[in-house]
Subunit: 447 residues, 2 copies
C-alpha cells in the first residue's frame, strides 16, 4: 500500500513514523516543499534570541535518519501542485525543476499554515519578514546580522509577535509593535492583559494600538511603514498577523473546507474524500467545550493528529479527542496561559457565561519570592459547567492551566472543579490553589 504525505513537519512526520511502526510493509512517501523536515518551529524565537545557536539546532530528526533508520521515503524540495482524487495521484515540481507524480492508496495532507501577508504595497520587500518555517528563521537571523538591525517594527500582537519581541530585545534591538485593534490580547480580561502590557513597557517595547499599517517603502537603507495616521522608520518589519491554513490544494481537489478555510476532517482525520486525510495546522478539529468544529493550529494537536491519521490508515482505531485550545506563551518574565472558551466565545456558542477575575499569589502566605497570579475563570450559569480560564503570572501559570484542560475534557462543573484535591506546599502556592480560589469565587457569583 502506498501512503503519501504532503508536508514533513509535525503532523506529516509523526504520521510517517507511526505508520511505519504500525505496518513496516507500508510504502510511506513524504513530499516536503522546503529543505527541512521535523523541526521545532515553536523554538525559533528562542533560537533567534541566542546568537550562539544555529537554526539547525531545532531539527529534531534530519531527513536522512527517517530514510535510513525508518525506511521512510522523505523527499525534500518537492512542491505538490495538485491532487487528483479520481486518479489517486499527486503531482508537482521539485526544486531542481523536475515534474513529479506519485500514486497513492491513502493520502495525508499535512501542509501546515502560512503567515498572513496582506497584499499591500511593500509588504513583499526584503526586510519585511514573517516567521513560520525554519527557512523563515534562517532568513531573519541572517538579516539581523547582515543589516545590523537596531530597530524592528512588529505588525501584530499575537503569540508569535510577543515571543519575537522578547527575542529582539534580548539582542539589544528597539521594538515597536503595532496593530489596528484597540486591545492587546482581546481574548483576555482587561485586568490580565494590562499586566502583559506593563511587562512589555517595562522592557521598553512601544505598543501602538489602533494603528493600521497600509504600506511599506524603502528609504535610504531603512524601511518606512505608514498608515492613515502613523509612520514608522525601522530597519526590519516582522509580520505577525496570524496564520492561514494551507488548504488551497485541498480546495482545488474539491475537498470540503471548515472554519477559517481549514480542511474539514471527521474524528478519524478523514476529509470529505475517504482516501484523503488532513492533519496539523491545515485541518480543523472538534472543540471539546462547544462540540463544534474549530480551527486552532497548535503543535501538540498536529503531532497527535498525525498519529491518529496513521493509525486509521493502518486499520487501527484512532485515539483522538477534541481540542480545547490549551496554550501558553512567555512574555519576558510572564507566563500567559489559556484553555477553553473566552467570555465572548462562550456567549457566541449559546452559553450563558459567568466570569470572575481573581488575583492571588504564586506562593504561600509569608513565603518569600511570591508574585501575583491573575486568573479569569468562566462557567455557564445555566448548567454550572466550567467553560475556560486564562492566567497570567511570573510563575505557576504555565502548568496550572492543564488542570483546567483536564477539567474541560471531563465536562466538570465549576462546583466539582472547586473540590479538586490539589497539592500544596508554601514554595509552590497558597493552601487554596489560585485555581480553587477562582472556582470558589465563581461559585459565589453564580449562586
Amino acid at each position: 500500500m502506498e501512503f503519501v504525505i504532503i508536508g514533513g513537519d509535525a503532523a506529516g512526520m509523526s504520521a510517517a513514523s507511526r505508520a511505519k511502526r504500525n505496518r513496516p510493509d507500508l510504502n510511506v512517501t513524504v513530499l516536503e516543499k522546503s529543505s527541512d523536515v521535523s523541526y521545532s518551529a515553536c523554538g525559533m524565537p528562542y533560537n533567534i534570541a541566542d546568537s550562539d545557536r544555529e537554526i539547525e539546532d531545532l531539527v529534531v530528526r534530519p531527513a536522512h535518519v527517517f530514510r535510513d533508520k525508518q525506511g521512510i521515503n522523505v523527499l525534500t524540495g518537492h512542491f505538490v501542485e495538485s491532487i487528483d482524487p479520481k486518479g489517486k495521484t499527486v503531482a508537482g515540481t521539485s526544486s531542481d525543476k523536475k515534474a513529479f507524480r506519485f500514486d497513492y492508496d491513502k493520502l495525508l495532507i499535512a501542509s501546515g499554515a502560512s503567515p498572513a501577508r496582506p497584499d499591500l504595497p511593500g509588504f513583499d520587500l526584503p526586510g519585511v519578514m514573517a516567521l513560520k518555517s525554519l527557512d523563515d528563521g534562517r532568513k531573519i537571523k541572517a538579516y539581523l546580522t547582515a543589516h545590523n538591525v537596531k530597530k524592528v517594527l512588529i505588525i501584530g500582537m499575537g503569540y508569535i509577535g510577543l515571543e519575537m519581541c522578547e527575542a529582539f530585545v534580548a539582542g539589544g534591538i528597539e521594538v515597536d509593535m503595532v496593530k489596528p485593534g484597540s486591545t492587546l490580547l482581546p481574548w483576555m480580561a482587561p485586568e490580565l492583559s494590562e499586566v502583559v502590557k506593563k511587562e512589555l513597557e517595562t522592557h521598553h517595547v512601544r505598543l501602538h494600538l489602533g494603528r493600521d499599517i497600509q504600506g511599506i517603502e524603502e528609504t535610504s537603507g531603512h524601511l518606512k511603514a505608514f498608515g492613515p495616521d502613523t509612520c514608522f522608520q525601522t530597519d526590519m518589519v516582522l509580520l505577525a498577523m496570524g496564520v492561514t491554513p494551507n488548504s488551497e490544494l485541498a480546495a482545488n481537489a474539491g475537498l470540503a473546507l471548515g472554519p477559517g478555510d481549514s480542511i474539514a476532517v471527521d474524528r478519524s482525520l478523514k476529509t470529505s474524500n475517504e482516501h484523503i486525510y488532513a492533519a496539523g495546522d491545515c485541518a480543523d478539529a472538534f472543540h471539546l467545550v462547544t462540540g463544534e468544529k474549530t480551527w486552532i493550529p497548535l503543535a501538540l494537536r498536529a503531532n497527535r493528529a498525525g498519529w491518529a491519521a496513521a493509525d486509521d490508515v493502518c486499520g487501527q482505531p484512532p485515539n483522538l479527542a477534541g481540542v480545547c485550545g490549551a496554550a501558553v506563551f512567555k512574555v519576558f518574565d510572564l507566563e500567559v496561559a489559556r484553555a477553553g472558551l473566552t467570555v465572548k466565545e462562550a456567549g457566541a456558542f449559546g452559553f450563558d457565561p459567568c466570569a470572575v477575575v481573581v488575583k492571588t499569589r504564586s506562593r504561600a502566605h509569608a513565603h518569600s519570592g511570591s508574585s501575583p497570579i491573575r486568573i479569569q475563570m468562566i462557567a455557564d450559569k445555566k448548567t454550572g459547567r466550567l467553560l475556560g480560564a486564562q492566567m497570567v503570572g511570573r510563575e505557576g501559570a504555565a502548568h496550572r492551566i492543564n488542570a483546567v484542560s483536564v477539567a474541560l475534557h471531563n465536562r466538570m462543573t465549576a462546583r466539582d472543579f472547586s473540590q479538586t484535591d490539589m497539592a500544596y506546599a508554601p514554595p509552590f502556592g497558597p493552601v487554596w490553589d489560585p485555581l480553587l480560589t477562582a472556582a470558589n469565587q465563581l461559585l459565589k457569583k453564580m449562586r
Copy 2:
C-alpha cells in the same frame, strides 16, 4: 444555637469563619489549647531557615481579629479534657488553671495531629524537638540560637524531615538523617527516590537508612543518639517520624475511629454522634480512587472540611469530595509531587497495577536550561483506569501533578488522559508534555 469548636488552626478557624458568614446569629466558640490560632504550619521550615523572620509572620489572622471583626469567641489557652455527648458539654482547664465547661448544640472536633514521639529513653530531653505547632517552631528557632547548634540529627525521612533538612543546611548546620527502613521515600519508584537521594547528598546531608535509634542521652552539652549498631553525637535531635491524629478525646467520648485511629466521619463530616463533627488532621476521609476510608492529614483538606462541617451545621448542603493525596514538597532544588495511589497501595486495594517510569525534560528540545523530569504513572490493567502518579524534577513537577489530580477526580482512563489537550511552549515543556509521554508509555505497556 451554640457551635463549639475544639482546635483553632486550619479546620477549626475555617469552620468558625464560615459558620459566622453563613449564620451571623450563631454563637461560635473556639477552644484552642495553645496561644496561637490560624497559622501557616507548613511555612515553618522556611521561616526557621530565615533568621530575619519571626515565627509570628506565619500567623494568618490573630485571635483578636476573629473576636473583634467576626464576632467569634476565640479562647486560647483552653485545653479540652472531656466531651460529654449525652449532656452535650465539653470541659477542661485553661492555662491559668481554671476549670471551664461549655454547652454545645453542635460540636466540631478539629484537634489536629501530633508528631509521633516514641516512649524511649531520652526522647523527652530538651534538645529533642518535634515540629507541628507554631510553638514547636518557636522552640526550635530559639534552641538553634541559644545552643549555637552546629549539628542536627533528624529521625525520620518524610516530608517534614526533608523540608527541615533544607532549613538546617541553609543555616550552616550539618545534618544527619536516620530511619529504620532501608528505603528513602518507599512510596516512590526507585528511579525517582534515587534522584532525591542524590540531591540530599549534593547538599552534604548524610543519610543513614536501616538504622534504628533506641535512646538518646545528654553528654557534656551535646546529645548522643544510639541504636543497636549506631551512635550519633549531635547538638539537637528533630523527631520527624510522622504524626498521629489527636483522637483520644473522641475515643473517650465513645466516637467511632477510622484508619490510623483518626476520627471516623461521614461525607458531611459527622462522627458517629449526630451532633459532633470532626475535620482536619484528626479526621478520616473517603479516598477518591479506592472509595475506601483513608487518613491523609493535609492542609487543604483541613480548610475544606472546616467549611463543609460549618455548612452542614448551618443546614446548608456541604460540598465535599474525597481526597486523592495530592501533595508536593521541596527538597533543596527539587520538586517532589504525588497524587493517587502508589503501586503497592493499588495492589492492596484490589487493582491490577501497571506502572511505567519515564524520564523526559522540563523544556523543549533545544531549549536552554532544561532539566530532567521523572514520572511514575500507574493504571489498572483490568479497566485502564488511571490510579496515580509521582514526579520528581527541578521545575514543572509541583503544578503538573494537579492535572493528574483532576483526572483522578473524574476516574479517567490512562487512554483518555493521554488525549488531554495540554498547553505547550518551549520554555515550559516538550510538545508532548511529560504527563502525556508517561500516559502514552503506560498505554503501550498495557496493550
